[in-house]
């Protein structure tokens, strides 16, 4: 089997594992919300644990991302690193900007849930910019 085939196989396996993680996330999210919304658990630590349960799938995705990164070749790693660096800086600028706007211009409080879409979006843009540099 050539390296190309191995890469293709890896990409497919990672895809399958990602789908499995996202499916687990959906099941845990829907299941925990169903329990919490019906107030079937009153004990606060129990509610916190249930509320955090979807993050079990998050650790799966984190593990997957790290393995994916290590499986890349040297240029792909460089591109990914440049993309992440861009996303890291852009997220810092955007979240700090919003923080200042909250303090100075009365912008409303927003959920921490928005941090990830901001990071993922700017990481995606950074990846695309880095990708273009080497083609």
């Amino acid at each position: 089997m050539s390296m190309q085939d191995t890469n293709a196989l890896n990409a497919r396996r990672y895809g399958l594992e990602l789908v499995a993680c996202l499916a687990l996330y959906a099941v845990l999210l829907i299941g925990s919300l169903a329990i919490l919304d019906r107030n079937l658990v009153a004990w606060m630590p129990g509610r916190a644990i249930l509320g955090l349960s979807p993050m079990i799938a998050g650790f799966g995705v984190l593990n997957l991302m790290m393995r994916r990164y290590r499986a890349q070749d040297e240029l792909q790693k460089k591109i990914m690193a440049e993309g992440i660096m861009f996303g890291f800086g852009a997220t810092a600028i955007l979240t700090f900007s919003y923080g200042f706007l909250q303090r100075t211009a009365g912008f409303p409080d927003v959920s921490y849930f928005y941090v990830w879409p901001v990071l993922a979006g700017s990481w995606g843009i950074g990846n695309a910019l880095a990708f273009r540099r080497y083609r």
Binding site: S2, M3, Q4, D73, E74, R133
Partner: protein, 76 residues
């Protein structure tokens, strides 16, 4: 850094995918090397040299030091 990768590959009638498979890198990386947008790491440069059976300095040319094409000059 200039290199002769595209010529060497063409001489062997390999596709970029063939070369990528032989080197254990992606086709994108082979392309970036050929269009000289990316300089390989030392280990990858040596893998390329081994694959084509030529010294690294005959495949990659350091334009900043033209004399370096002749390794005996560096030996002083």
């Amino acid at each position: 850094m200039k290199n002769r990768l595209r010529v060497l590959r063409a001489e062997r009638k390999w596709s970029q995918a063939d070369l990528a498979a032989a080197l254990g890198v992606s086709r994108q990386t082979v392309n970036a090397l050929e269009i000289e947008k990316y300089d390989p790491s030392l280990p990858l440069a040596y893998r390329i040299a081994r694959l084509f059976g030529q010294p690294v300095e005959q495949i990659f040319v350091d334009e900043a030091v033209p004399e370096a094409k002749d390794p005996t000059i560096l030996a002083g």
